[in-house]
Protein backbone atom coordinates (compact mmCIF):
# COMPACT_ATOMS: atom_id res chain seq x y z
CA UNK A 1 0.00 0.00 0.00
CA UNK A 2 1.62 3.21 -1.17
CA UNK A 3 -0.11 6.34 0.05
CA UNK A 4 0.53 9.98 -0.75
CA UNK A 5 -0.66 12.77 1.51
CA UNK A 6 -0.58 16.27 0.09
CA UNK A 7 -0.13 18.85 2.82
CA UNK A 8 0.14 22.61 3.09
CA UNK A 9 1.77 25.11 5.40
CA UNK A 10 -0.80 27.68 6.49
CA UNK A 11 -0.98 30.49 9.07
CA UNK A 12 -2.28 29.34 12.43
CA UNK A 13 -5.98 30.13 12.60
CA UNK A 14 -5.34 31.81 15.96
CA UNK A 15 -2.87 34.21 14.39
CA UNK A 16 -3.88 37.80 14.01
CA UNK A 17 -3.35 38.51 10.33
CA UNK A 18 -1.79 41.78 9.17
CA UNK A 19 -2.04 42.88 5.57
CA UNK A 20 1.18 44.03 3.92
CA UNK A 21 1.90 47.46 2.50
CA UNK A 22 1.10 46.21 -1.01
CA UNK A 23 -2.45 45.43 0.15
CA UNK A 24 -2.27 42.07 -1.57
CA UNK A 25 -0.39 39.79 0.79
CA UNK A 26 -0.17 39.08 4.49
CA UNK A 27 2.81 40.03 6.61
CA UNK A 28 4.53 36.75 7.46
CA UNK A 29 6.77 38.19 10.18
CA UNK A 30 5.62 37.07 13.59
CA UNK A 31 2.94 34.83 12.09
CA UNK A 32 2.96 31.28 13.33
CA UNK A 33 2.59 28.73 10.58
CA UNK A 34 1.16 25.29 11.10
CA UNK A 35 0.24 22.19 9.17
CA UNK A 36 -3.21 22.77 7.67
CA UNK A 37 -5.57 21.23 10.28
CA UNK A 38 -7.56 19.17 7.72
CA UNK A 39 -4.30 17.70 6.42
CA UNK A 40 -3.71 16.28 9.89
CA UNK A 41 -6.73 14.04 9.38
CA UNK A 42 -5.36 12.99 6.01
CA UNK A 43 -1.98 12.07 7.51
CA UNK A 44 -3.56 10.22 10.40
CA UNK A 45 -5.76 8.22 8.04
CA UNK A 46 -2.77 7.31 5.89
CA UNK A 47 -0.81 6.17 8.94
CA UNK A 48 -3.71 4.10 10.22
CA UNK A 49 -4.16 2.45 6.82
CA UNK A 50 -0.48 1.62 6.71
CA UNK A 51 -0.53 0.26 10.24
CA UNK A 52 -3.61 -1.85 9.49
CA UNK A 53 -2.15 -3.32 6.33
CA UNK A 54 1.10 -4.10 8.12
CA UNK A 55 3.32 -2.65 5.41
CA UNK A 56 3.46 0.10 2.86
CA UNK A 57 4.72 3.61 2.60
CA UNK A 58 3.31 7.01 3.45
CA UNK A 59 4.78 9.92 1.49
CA UNK A 60 4.07 13.51 2.57
CA UNK A 61 4.13 15.96 -0.33
CA UNK A 62 3.99 19.72 0.00
CA UNK A 63 4.24 22.50 -2.52
CA UNK A 64 5.58 25.79 -1.24
CA UNK A 65 8.61 27.74 -0.11
CA UNK A 66 11.60 26.24 1.70
CA UNK A 67 9.81 26.88 4.99
CA UNK A 68 7.39 24.09 4.09
CA UNK A 69 10.17 21.64 4.96
CA UNK A 70 9.23 22.21 8.57
CA UNK A 71 5.63 21.26 7.76
CA UNK A 72 6.81 18.07 6.10
CA UNK A 73 8.99 17.29 9.12
CA UNK A 74 5.84 17.54 11.19
CA UNK A 75 4.23 14.84 9.05
CA UNK A 76 7.39 12.73 9.30
CA UNK A 77 7.32 13.15 13.08
CA UNK A 78 3.78 11.81 13.12
CA UNK A 79 5.04 8.76 11.24
CA UNK A 80 5.15 9.39 7.48
CA UNK A 81 8.09 7.58 5.88
CA UNK A 82 9.48 10.25 3.60
CA UNK A 83 8.72 13.68 2.25
CA UNK A 84 8.84 15.58 -1.02
CA UNK A 85 8.92 19.35 -1.22
CA UNK A 86 7.93 20.83 -4.56
CA UNK A 87 9.72 24.05 -3.91
CA UNK A 88 8.71 27.43 -5.22
CA UNK A 89 8.38 30.87 -3.75
CA UNK A 90 5.58 31.67 -6.16
CA UNK A 91 2.03 31.68 -4.88
CA UNK A 92 -0.85 30.93 -7.18
CA UNK A 93 -4.44 31.79 -6.46
CA UNK A 94 -5.59 29.49 -9.21
CA UNK A 95 -6.00 25.99 -7.77
CA UNK A 96 -5.55 24.50 -11.23
CA UNK A 97 -1.94 25.68 -11.33
CA UNK A 98 -1.19 24.08 -7.97
CA UNK A 99 -3.03 20.89 -8.89
CA UNK A 100 -0.99 20.56 -12.09
CA UNK A 101 2.29 20.68 -10.18
CA UNK A 102 1.07 18.08 -7.68
CA UNK A 103 -0.42 15.86 -10.39
CA UNK A 104 2.87 15.87 -12.28
CA UNK A 105 4.61 14.57 -9.15
CA UNK A 106 1.93 11.99 -8.37
CA UNK A 107 1.45 10.71 -11.90
CA UNK A 108 3.01 7.34 -12.50
CA UNK A 109 4.50 7.12 -9.00
CA UNK A 110 2.32 4.12 -8.16
CA UNK A 111 0.22 5.48 -5.32
CA UNK A 112 -2.79 3.38 -4.33
CA UNK A 113 -4.39 6.26 -2.52
CA UNK A 114 -3.86 10.01 -2.53
CA UNK A 115 -5.14 11.97 0.43
CA UNK A 116 -5.75 15.68 0.87
CA UNK A 117 -7.38 17.75 3.56
CA UNK A 118 -10.82 18.90 2.44
CA UNK A 119 -9.46 22.42 2.14
CA UNK A 120 -6.58 24.58 3.28
CA UNK A 121 -7.65 27.07 5.91
CA UNK A 122 -5.71 29.93 4.30
CA UNK A 123 -7.47 30.33 0.94
CA UNK A 124 -10.26 27.76 1.48
CA UNK A 125 -10.53 27.08 -2.25
CA UNK A 126 -11.58 23.47 -1.63
CA UNK A 127 -10.53 22.57 -5.14
CA UNK A 128 -6.97 21.25 -5.38
CA UNK A 129 -7.65 17.63 -4.38
CA UNK A 130 -10.56 17.27 -6.73
CA UNK A 131 -8.73 18.87 -9.64
CA UNK A 132 -5.77 16.54 -9.09
CA UNK A 133 -8.09 13.54 -9.39
CA UNK A 134 -9.45 14.99 -12.61
CA UNK A 135 -5.97 15.55 -14.03
CA UNK A 136 -5.00 11.99 -13.15
CA UNK A 137 -8.36 10.55 -14.28
CA UNK A 138 -8.91 8.97 -10.89
CA UNK A 139 -12.11 8.65 -8.91
CA UNK A 140 -12.41 11.12 -6.07
CA UNK A 141 -14.52 11.53 -2.97
CA UNK A 142 -14.34 14.81 -1.11
CA UNK A 143 -14.81 15.66 2.56
CA UNK A 144 -14.97 12.10 3.81
CA UNK A 145 -15.80 11.28 7.42
CA UNK A 146 -15.11 7.56 7.20
CA UNK A 147 -13.00 5.31 5.00
CA UNK A 148 -12.66 1.54 4.49
CA UNK A 149 -10.39 -0.16 1.99
CA UNK A 150 -10.67 -3.80 0.89
CA UNK A 151 -9.78 -5.79 -2.21
CA UNK A 152 -8.71 -2.87 -4.35
CA UNK A 153 -11.88 -1.00 -3.50
CA UNK A 154 -12.72 1.81 -1.16
CA UNK A 155 -15.88 2.80 0.65
CA UNK A 156 -16.15 6.32 1.98
CA UNK A 157 -18.81 8.14 3.89
CA UNK A 158 -19.41 11.82 3.53
CA UNK A 159 -21.81 14.03 5.34
CA UNK A 160 -24.37 15.71 3.12
CA UNK A 161 -27.22 18.00 3.96
CA UNK A 162 -29.36 16.06 6.42
CA UNK A 163 -27.71 12.68 5.96
CA UNK A 164 -24.74 10.54 5.07
CA UNK A 165 -23.73 9.51 1.58
CA UNK A 166 -21.87 6.22 1.17
CA UNK A 167 -19.67 6.03 -1.91
CA UNK A 168 -17.83 3.04 -3.30
CA UNK A 169 -14.88 3.56 -5.61
CA UNK A 170 -12.02 1.66 -7.18
CA UNK A 171 -8.38 2.24 -6.30
CA UNK A 172 -6.24 4.14 -6.98
CA UNK A 173 -8.28 7.13 -5.94
CA UNK A 174 -8.15 10.60 -4.44
CA UNK A 175 -9.98 11.41 -1.22
CA UNK A 176 -10.12 14.59 0.82
CA UNK A 177 -10.44 14.38 4.59
CA UNK A 178 -13.04 16.11 6.74
CA UNK A 179 -12.91 16.73 10.45
CA UNK A 180 -14.02 13.66 12.37
CA UNK A 181 -12.41 11.18 9.98
CA UNK A 182 -10.18 10.19 12.89
CA UNK A 183 -8.38 11.61 15.89
CA UNK A 184 -4.96 12.84 14.67
CA UNK A 185 -2.14 11.67 16.90
CA UNK A 186 0.43 13.88 18.56
CA UNK A 187 3.86 13.14 17.19
CA UNK A 188 5.74 11.11 19.79
CA UNK A 189 8.77 13.06 21.01
CA UNK A 190 11.03 10.35 19.70
CA UNK A 191 9.31 10.67 16.35
CA UNK A 192 10.26 14.34 16.27
CA UNK A 193 13.91 13.45 16.72
CA UNK A 194 13.71 10.66 14.15
CA UNK A 195 11.99 12.90 11.58
CA UNK A 196 15.32 14.63 11.06
CA UNK A 197 16.79 11.40 9.75
CA UNK A 198 13.99 10.54 7.33
CA UNK A 199 14.47 11.37 3.63
CA UNK A 200 13.11 14.68 2.41
CA UNK A 201 13.57 15.32 -1.25
CA UNK A 202 13.44 18.90 -2.51
CA UNK A 203 12.46 19.46 -6.14
CA UNK A 204 12.30 22.97 -7.59
CA UNK A 205 9.10 23.59 -9.57
CA UNK A 206 7.82 26.36 -11.80
CA UNK A 207 4.44 27.83 -11.14
CA UNK A 208 2.42 29.94 -13.56
CA UNK A 209 0.02 32.57 -12.27
CA UNK A 210 -2.86 30.65 -13.83
CA UNK A 211 -4.38 33.79 -15.19
CA UNK A 212 -5.47 34.93 -11.78
CA UNK A 213 -4.00 37.59 -9.52
CA UNK A 214 -4.96 39.00 -6.15
CA UNK A 215 -6.04 42.62 -6.48
CA UNK A 216 -6.74 43.37 -2.88
CA UNK A 217 -6.92 41.81 0.57
CA UNK A 218 -9.09 43.35 3.27
CA UNK A 219 -9.76 42.47 6.86
CA UNK A 220 -13.36 41.87 7.87
CA UNK A 221 -14.95 44.89 9.55
CA UNK A 222 -14.38 45.04 13.31
CA UNK A 223 -17.25 43.51 15.17
CA UNK A 224 -19.10 46.11 17.24
CA UNK A 225 -19.01 45.50 20.97
CA UNK A 226 -21.72 43.33 22.46
CA UNK A 227 -24.52 44.77 24.51
CA UNK A 228 -26.38 43.24 27.43
CA UNK A 229 -30.07 43.91 26.89
CA UNK A 230 -31.13 42.78 30.35
CA UNK A 231 -31.06 39.76 32.61
CA UNK A 232 -33.36 36.81 33.26
CA UNK A 233 -36.56 35.81 31.45
CA UNK A 234 -37.85 39.39 31.49
CA UNK A 235 -35.14 40.36 29.02
CA UNK A 236 -36.26 37.88 26.35
CA UNK A 237 -38.72 40.19 24.55
CA UNK A 238 -36.08 42.94 24.37
CA UNK A 239 -33.56 40.41 23.01
CA UNK A 240 -35.98 39.17 20.35
CA UNK A 241 -36.74 42.74 19.41
CA UNK A 242 -33.03 43.56 19.09
CA UNK A 243 -32.30 40.43 17.06
CA UNK A 244 -35.17 41.32 14.74
CA UNK A 245 -34.65 45.03 14.25
CA UNK A 246 -30.94 45.63 14.89
CA UNK A 247 -29.17 42.40 13.99
CA UNK A 248 -31.87 41.40 11.50
CA UNK A 249 -31.19 37.70 12.03
CA UNK A 250 -34.75 36.67 12.92
Amino acid sequence: MKIAVCIKRVPDTETRIKIGADGKSIVEDGVKFVLNPYDEYAIEEALQLKEKSGDGEVVAIAMGSAASQETIRGALAMGADRGILLQTDAVSVNPVTVAKVLAAELDGAGYDLILFGKYAVDDSSQAVGTIVSELLSLPSVSAIGHLELADGKGTAEREIEGGVEVVEFSLPAVVTADKGLNEPRYPALRGIMMAKKKPLEVKPVELGDGGMTVIQLALPPERPEGRIVGEGPDAVPALIEALRTEAKVL
Binding site: Y186, P187, L189, I192
Partner: protein, 392 residues
Protein backbone atom coordinates in the same frame (compact mmCIF):
# COMPACT_ATOMS: atom_id res chain seq x y z
CA UNK B 1 -7.31 30.44 23.10
CA UNK B 2 -4.22 28.23 22.92
CA UNK B 3 -1.22 29.16 25.01
CA UNK B 4 1.14 31.51 23.16
CA UNK B 5 4.09 31.53 25.53
CA UNK B 6 6.36 34.46 26.10
CA UNK B 7 9.59 35.15 24.28
CA UNK B 8 10.60 38.75 24.79
CA UNK B 9 14.28 38.28 23.99
CA UNK B 10 14.04 35.78 21.14
CA UNK B 11 15.27 33.02 23.42
CA UNK B 12 13.75 30.70 20.82
CA UNK B 13 16.72 31.46 18.59
CA UNK B 14 18.83 29.52 21.11
CA UNK B 15 16.76 26.40 20.49
CA UNK B 16 17.02 23.86 17.68
CA UNK B 17 14.10 23.09 15.36
CA UNK B 18 13.57 19.75 17.12
CA UNK B 19 13.62 21.33 20.57
CA UNK B 20 10.98 23.81 19.47
CA UNK B 21 8.89 21.10 17.82
CA UNK B 22 8.99 19.05 21.02
CA UNK B 23 7.99 22.05 23.09
CA UNK B 24 5.15 22.94 20.75
CA UNK B 25 3.84 19.38 20.74
CA UNK B 26 3.71 19.20 24.53
CA UNK B 27 2.24 22.70 24.61
CA UNK B 28 -0.57 21.63 22.32
CA UNK B 29 -1.19 18.48 24.35
CA UNK B 30 -1.42 20.53 27.55
CA UNK B 31 -3.95 22.83 25.89
CA UNK B 32 -6.03 19.89 24.71
CA UNK B 33 -5.74 17.43 27.57
CA UNK B 34 -4.75 19.27 30.75
CA UNK B 35 -6.33 22.71 30.65
CA UNK B 36 -9.96 21.58 30.30
CA UNK B 37 -9.83 19.32 33.37
CA UNK B 38 -7.16 20.63 35.71
CA UNK B 39 -9.21 23.07 37.78
CA UNK B 40 -11.74 20.37 38.58
CA UNK B 41 -9.08 17.91 39.70
CA UNK B 42 -7.48 20.64 41.74
CA UNK B 43 -10.76 21.36 43.51
CA UNK B 44 -11.50 17.65 43.96
CA UNK B 45 -7.99 17.11 45.29
CA UNK B 46 -6.84 14.30 43.02
CA UNK B 47 -4.38 13.69 40.23
CA UNK B 48 -5.87 13.22 36.73
CA UNK B 49 -4.70 9.62 36.24
CA UNK B 50 -6.29 9.54 32.80
CA UNK B 51 -3.38 11.66 31.58
CA UNK B 52 -0.78 8.99 32.36
CA UNK B 53 -1.23 6.80 29.24
CA UNK B 54 -1.21 9.91 27.05
CA UNK B 55 1.95 11.21 28.68
CA UNK B 56 3.56 7.83 28.14
CA UNK B 57 2.45 7.71 24.51
CA UNK B 58 4.08 11.08 23.90
CA UNK B 59 7.25 9.82 25.55
CA UNK B 60 7.32 12.25 28.46
CA UNK B 61 8.55 9.88 31.16
CA UNK B 62 12.30 9.77 31.58
CA UNK B 63 12.51 11.52 28.21
CA UNK B 64 16.24 12.22 28.61
CA UNK B 65 17.10 8.56 29.24
CA UNK B 66 18.26 6.27 26.42
CA UNK B 67 16.02 4.67 23.82
CA UNK B 68 17.28 1.16 24.58
CA UNK B 69 15.19 1.26 27.76
CA UNK B 70 12.06 2.49 26.00
CA UNK B 71 12.73 6.18 26.65
CA UNK B 72 12.80 9.04 24.17
CA UNK B 73 16.54 9.72 24.37
CA UNK B 74 16.15 13.49 24.20
CA UNK B 75 18.75 16.05 25.19
CA UNK B 76 18.36 17.95 28.43
CA UNK B 77 17.13 21.19 26.87
CA UNK B 78 14.26 19.33 25.21
CA UNK B 79 13.61 17.57 28.52
CA UNK B 80 13.55 20.92 30.30
CA UNK B 81 11.12 22.37 27.76
CA UNK B 82 8.81 19.42 28.42
CA UNK B 83 8.87 20.22 32.14
CA UNK B 84 8.19 23.88 31.38
CA UNK B 85 5.13 23.03 29.32
CA UNK B 86 3.79 20.51 31.83
CA UNK B 87 4.06 22.97 34.68
CA UNK B 88 2.38 25.60 32.55
CA UNK B 89 -0.60 23.28 32.96
CA UNK B 90 -0.13 22.51 36.63
CA UNK B 91 2.75 21.85 39.00
CA UNK B 92 1.05 18.58 39.93
CA UNK B 93 1.33 17.27 36.38
CA UNK B 94 4.98 18.29 36.20
CA UNK B 95 5.59 16.77 39.63
CA UNK B 96 4.21 13.45 38.42
CA UNK B 97 6.59 13.46 35.46
CA UNK B 98 9.53 14.66 37.59
CA UNK B 99 9.07 11.91 40.13
CA UNK B 100 8.55 9.21 37.53
CA UNK B 101 11.51 10.30 35.41
CA UNK B 102 14.09 12.00 37.60
CA UNK B 103 13.45 10.32 40.95
CA UNK B 104 12.44 6.78 40.00
CA UNK B 105 13.72 6.02 36.50
CA UNK B 106 16.96 7.98 36.92
CA UNK B 107 18.16 6.14 40.08
CA UNK B 108 17.30 2.79 38.51
CA UNK B 109 19.20 3.88 35.41
CA UNK B 110 22.17 5.35 37.31
CA UNK B 111 22.50 2.93 40.24
CA UNK B 112 20.63 -0.18 39.06
CA UNK B 113 21.87 -3.48 37.67
CA UNK B 114 21.24 -4.30 34.03
CA UNK B 115 18.44 -6.68 35.15
CA UNK B 116 16.79 -3.95 37.22
CA UNK B 117 16.97 -1.54 34.31
CA UNK B 118 15.46 -4.04 31.89
CA UNK B 119 12.78 -5.01 34.39
CA UNK B 120 11.63 -1.53 35.35
CA UNK B 121 12.58 1.21 32.91
CA UNK B 122 10.39 0.17 29.96
CA UNK B 123 7.41 -0.35 32.28
CA UNK B 124 7.91 3.05 33.86
CA UNK B 125 8.42 4.74 30.48
CA UNK B 126 5.19 3.22 29.17
CA UNK B 127 3.27 4.33 32.24
CA UNK B 128 2.32 0.73 32.95
CA UNK B 129 4.05 1.18 36.30
CA UNK B 130 3.97 4.36 38.40
CA UNK B 131 6.83 5.08 40.77
CA UNK B 132 7.50 7.15 43.87
CA UNK B 133 10.64 8.28 45.70
CA UNK B 134 10.88 7.95 49.46
CA UNK B 135 13.60 10.06 51.04
CA UNK B 136 11.93 12.58 53.37
CA UNK B 137 10.82 11.42 56.81
CA UNK B 138 8.56 13.05 59.41
CA UNK B 139 11.59 14.33 61.32
CA UNK B 140 14.11 14.65 58.51
CA UNK B 141 13.34 16.90 55.55
CA UNK B 142 16.08 19.39 54.80
CA UNK B 143 18.49 17.10 56.58
CA UNK B 144 17.79 13.70 54.99
CA UNK B 145 21.13 12.32 56.23
CA UNK B 146 19.51 11.99 59.63
CA UNK B 147 16.95 9.47 58.36
CA UNK B 148 15.82 6.70 60.67
CA UNK B 149 14.65 4.19 58.06
CA UNK B 150 16.80 1.09 58.17
CA UNK B 151 17.57 -1.82 55.87
CA UNK B 152 18.98 -4.87 57.61
CA UNK B 153 20.67 -7.56 55.58
CA UNK B 154 19.40 -11.10 56.19
CA UNK B 155 20.44 -14.51 54.81
CA UNK B 156 18.28 -14.15 51.75
CA UNK B 157 17.75 -10.43 51.37
CA UNK B 158 16.76 -7.30 53.26
CA UNK B 159 14.25 -6.14 55.87
CA UNK B 160 13.17 -2.49 55.76
CA UNK B 161 11.60 -0.50 58.59
CA UNK B 162 10.72 3.17 58.75
CA UNK B 163 8.33 5.95 57.77
CA UNK B 164 8.56 8.24 54.77
CA UNK B 165 6.56 11.44 54.58
CA UNK B 166 5.35 13.81 51.85
CA UNK B 167 5.82 11.26 49.11
CA UNK B 168 4.53 12.33 45.70
CA UNK B 169 2.63 9.48 43.94
CA UNK B 170 2.95 7.46 47.16
CA UNK B 171 -0.56 5.96 47.11
CA UNK B 172 -0.64 5.56 43.33
CA UNK B 173 2.75 3.94 42.88
CA UNK B 174 3.42 0.35 41.90
CA UNK B 175 7.03 0.72 42.89
CA UNK B 176 8.85 2.86 45.43
CA UNK B 177 12.52 3.78 45.42
CA UNK B 178 13.16 3.89 49.17
CA UNK B 179 16.32 5.22 50.79
CA UNK B 180 17.46 3.54 54.02
CA UNK B 181 20.50 3.11 56.20
CA UNK B 182 22.15 -0.26 55.94
CA UNK B 183 24.55 0.46 58.80
CA UNK B 184 24.67 2.51 61.96
CA UNK B 185 21.94 5.12 62.40
CA UNK B 186 24.65 7.78 62.52
CA UNK B 187 26.29 6.53 59.35
CA UNK B 188 25.19 8.57 56.32
CA UNK B 189 27.60 6.67 54.11
CA UNK B 190 25.51 3.53 54.64
CA UNK B 191 22.47 5.01 52.88
CA UNK B 192 21.36 2.90 49.92
CA UNK B 193 18.42 2.80 47.57
CA UNK B 194 15.93 -0.09 47.36
CA UNK B 195 13.35 -1.03 44.77
CA UNK B 196 10.21 -1.82 46.72
CA UNK B 197 7.14 -3.11 44.87
CA UNK B 198 4.28 -1.45 46.75
CA UNK B 199 2.32 -4.70 47.04
CA UNK B 200 5.07 -6.14 49.25
CA UNK B 201 3.78 -7.23 52.66
CA UNK B 202 4.39 -4.60 55.32
CA UNK B 203 4.30 -1.66 52.90
CA UNK B 204 1.43 0.79 53.25
CA UNK B 205 0.65 4.26 51.94
CA UNK B 206 -1.76 6.82 53.26
CA UNK B 207 -2.94 9.95 51.46
CA UNK B 208 -1.83 13.20 53.08
CA UNK B 209 -5.11 14.97 53.83
CA UNK B 210 -5.82 18.68 54.03
CA UNK B 211 -3.40 20.04 51.44
CA UNK B 212 -4.02 23.60 50.26
CA UNK B 213 -1.27 23.32 47.63
CA UNK B 214 -0.50 20.83 44.84
CA UNK B 215 -4.03 19.55 45.22
CA UNK B 216 -3.97 17.84 41.83
CA UNK B 217 -1.18 15.57 43.05
CA UNK B 218 -1.00 12.52 45.27
CA UNK B 219 1.13 13.21 48.35
CA UNK B 220 1.30 10.33 50.81
CA UNK B 221 2.94 8.90 53.86
CA UNK B 222 4.66 5.55 53.47
CA UNK B 223 5.01 3.07 56.29
CA UNK B 224 7.46 0.20 55.97
CA UNK B 225 6.97 -2.38 58.65
CA UNK B 226 9.24 -5.42 58.37
CA UNK B 227 9.20 -5.26 54.62
CA UNK B 228 11.10 -8.34 53.38
CA UNK B 229 12.86 -7.85 50.09
CA UNK B 230 15.02 -10.19 47.99
CA UNK B 231 18.77 -9.59 47.87
CA UNK B 232 18.53 -8.02 44.42
CA UNK B 233 16.18 -5.25 45.63
CA UNK B 234 19.11 -3.01 46.48
CA UNK B 235 20.36 -0.60 43.82
CA UNK B 236 23.91 -2.00 43.60
CA UNK B 237 25.65 1.22 42.65
CA UNK B 238 23.92 3.42 45.24
CA UNK B 239 26.28 4.47 47.97
CA UNK B 240 25.77 7.05 50.69
CA UNK B 241 23.71 10.24 50.84
CA UNK B 242 25.29 11.37 47.60
CA UNK B 243 23.13 8.93 45.61
CA UNK B 244 19.70 10.37 46.53
CA UNK B 245 21.18 13.86 46.22
CA UNK B 246 22.20 13.06 42.65
CA UNK B 247 18.55 12.19 41.94
CA UNK B 248 17.48 15.48 43.47
CA UNK B 249 19.86 17.34 41.17
CA UNK B 250 18.08 15.75 38.21
CA UNK B 251 14.64 16.66 39.53
CA UNK B 252 15.66 20.18 40.52
CA UNK B 253 16.95 20.74 37.04
CA UNK B 254 13.48 19.99 35.71
CA UNK B 255 11.86 22.17 38.37
CA UNK B 256 13.96 25.16 37.33
CA UNK B 257 12.37 24.84 33.89
CA UNK B 258 8.94 23.94 35.22
CA UNK B 259 8.71 27.07 37.32
CA UNK B 260 9.17 29.16 34.18
CA UNK B 261 6.16 27.40 32.72
CA UNK B 262 3.85 28.34 35.56
CA UNK B 263 5.21 31.89 35.48
CA UNK B 264 4.49 32.11 31.75
CA UNK B 265 0.95 30.84 32.31
CA UNK B 266 0.33 33.51 34.93
CA UNK B 267 1.95 36.24 32.87
CA UNK B 268 -0.24 35.47 29.89
CA UNK B 269 -3.30 35.58 32.10
CA UNK B 270 -2.15 38.88 33.60
CA UNK B 271 -1.57 40.58 30.24
CA UNK B 272 -4.86 39.42 28.83
CA UNK B 273 -6.76 40.53 31.91
CA UNK B 274 -4.97 43.88 32.07
CA UNK B 275 -5.94 44.62 28.49
CA UNK B 276 -9.59 43.69 28.85
CA UNK B 277 -10.57 44.70 32.36
CA UNK B 278 -11.82 48.26 32.43
CA UNK B 279 -11.76 50.42 35.57
CA UNK B 280 -12.15 54.19 35.67
CA UNK B 281 -13.12 54.03 32.00
CA UNK B 282 -9.82 52.60 30.72
CA UNK B 283 -8.21 49.18 30.66
CA UNK B 284 -6.27 48.61 33.87
CA UNK B 285 -3.33 47.75 31.59
CA UNK B 286 -3.20 51.42 30.65
CA UNK B 287 -2.26 52.36 34.19
CA UNK B 288 1.34 52.76 35.25
CA UNK B 289 0.91 50.58 38.33
CA UNK B 290 -0.24 47.55 36.35
CA UNK B 291 2.36 48.14 33.65
CA UNK B 292 5.04 48.13 36.31
CA UNK B 293 3.73 44.75 37.45
CA UNK B 294 3.83 43.38 33.91
CA UNK B 295 7.25 44.85 33.16
CA UNK B 296 8.64 43.22 36.29
CA UNK B 297 7.13 39.88 35.29
CA UNK B 298 8.41 39.93 31.74
CA UNK B 299 11.90 40.86 32.96
CA UNK B 300 12.12 38.14 35.57
CA UNK B 301 10.67 35.46 33.30
CA UNK B 302 13.08 36.36 30.52
CA UNK B 303 16.05 36.10 32.89
CA UNK B 304 14.79 32.76 34.13
CA UNK B 305 14.42 31.48 30.56
CA UNK B 306 18.02 32.35 29.77
CA UNK B 307 19.19 30.67 32.96
CA UNK B 308 17.41 27.49 31.94
CA UNK B 309 18.80 27.31 28.43
CA UNK B 310 22.36 27.87 29.64
CA UNK B 311 21.94 25.33 32.45
CA UNK B 312 20.59 22.84 29.93
CA UNK B 313 23.52 23.36 27.59
CA UNK B 314 25.90 22.79 30.50
CA UNK B 315 24.05 19.62 31.45
CA UNK B 316 24.24 18.36 27.88
CA UNK B 317 27.95 19.14 27.84
CA UNK B 318 28.33 17.18 31.08
CA UNK B 319 29.80 20.10 32.99
CA UNK B 320 26.78 21.22 35.06
CA UNK B 321 27.50 21.52 38.80
CA UNK B 322 24.89 20.95 41.54
CA UNK B 323 25.24 24.50 42.89
CA UNK B 324 24.34 25.82 39.45
CA UNK B 325 21.15 23.80 39.62
CA UNK B 326 20.53 25.23 43.08
CA UNK B 327 20.91 28.73 41.71
CA UNK B 328 18.38 28.08 38.95
CA UNK B 329 15.85 26.24 41.14
CA UNK B 330 16.06 28.89 43.82
CA UNK B 331 15.74 31.83 41.47
CA UNK B 332 13.15 30.46 39.11
CA UNK B 333 10.76 29.09 41.69
CA UNK B 334 11.05 32.31 43.62
CA UNK B 335 10.27 34.56 40.66
CA UNK B 336 7.49 32.24 39.51
CA UNK B 337 5.89 32.54 42.93
CA UNK B 338 6.17 36.33 42.70
CA UNK B 339 4.69 36.37 39.21
CA UNK B 340 1.79 34.17 40.33
CA UNK B 341 1.14 36.37 43.34
CA UNK B 342 1.25 39.61 41.33
CA UNK B 343 -1.05 38.09 38.71
CA UNK B 344 -3.47 37.03 41.41
CA UNK B 345 -3.53 40.57 42.67
CA UNK B 346 -3.84 42.14 39.25
CA UNK B 347 -6.92 40.02 38.63
CA UNK B 348 -8.73 41.49 41.59
CA UNK B 349 -11.52 39.31 42.94
CA UNK B 350 -11.42 37.06 39.88
CA UNK B 351 -7.89 36.20 40.94
CA UNK B 352 -9.14 34.02 43.76
CA UNK B 353 -11.21 31.79 41.46
CA UNK B 354 -10.23 28.38 40.14
CA UNK B 355 -11.58 29.50 36.78
CA UNK B 356 -8.40 31.56 36.49
CA UNK B 357 -4.99 30.02 36.93
CA UNK B 358 -2.99 32.41 39.07
CA UNK B 359 -4.06 31.34 42.52
CA UNK B 360 -3.77 27.65 41.69
CA UNK B 361 -0.22 28.23 40.44
CA UNK B 362 0.56 30.43 43.42
CA UNK B 363 -0.61 27.80 45.89
CA UNK B 364 1.24 25.07 43.99
CA UNK B 365 4.46 27.03 43.86
CA UNK B 366 4.50 27.26 47.65
CA UNK B 367 5.10 23.49 47.63
CA UNK B 368 7.65 23.76 44.86
CA UNK B 369 9.39 26.45 46.93
CA UNK B 370 9.71 23.93 49.75
CA UNK B 371 10.31 20.59 48.10
CA UNK B 372 13.48 19.45 46.37
CA UNK B 373 15.49 21.56 48.77
CA UNK B 374 13.80 24.60 50.26
CA UNK B 375 14.69 28.06 49.00
CA UNK B 376 16.75 28.50 52.18
CA UNK B 377 18.66 25.29 51.66
CA UNK B 378 19.62 26.34 48.12
CA UNK B 379 20.76 29.66 49.53
CA UNK B 380 23.10 27.70 51.77
CA UNK B 381 24.30 25.52 48.89
CA UNK B 382 25.20 28.62 46.89
CA UNK B 383 26.71 30.24 49.97
CA UNK B 384 28.89 27.24 50.57
CA UNK B 385 29.95 27.16 46.91
CA UNK B 386 31.08 30.79 46.97
CA UNK B 387 32.75 30.81 50.42
CA UNK B 388 33.86 27.24 50.82
CA UNK B 389 32.25 27.40 54.27
CA UNK B 390 29.24 25.33 55.32
CA UNK B 391 26.47 27.24 57.09
CA UNK B 392 23.94 24.41 57.33
Amino acid sequence: MPFQGLDFLDVDSLLSEEEKAIRDTVRRWVDDAVMPIIAEHYLDGNFPMGLVPQMAELGLFGANLPEEYGCAGLNNVAYGLIMQELERGDSGVRSFASVQGALVMYPIYAFGSEEQKRAWLPRLASGEAVGCFGLTEPDYGSDPGGMLTTARETDDGWVLNGTKMWITNGSTAHVAVVWAKTGDIGDQASIRGFIVPTDTKGFSAKDQKGKLSLRASDTSELVLQDVHLPADAVLPKSKGLKSPLMCLTQARYGIAWGAVGSAMACYEEAVSYAKSRVAFKRPIGATQLQQARLAEMVTEITKAQLLCVQLGRLKDAGTMRPEQVSLAKRNNVNIATEVARETRRLLGANGILAEYQAMRHLANLESVYTYEGTHDIHTLVIGQAVTGLSAF
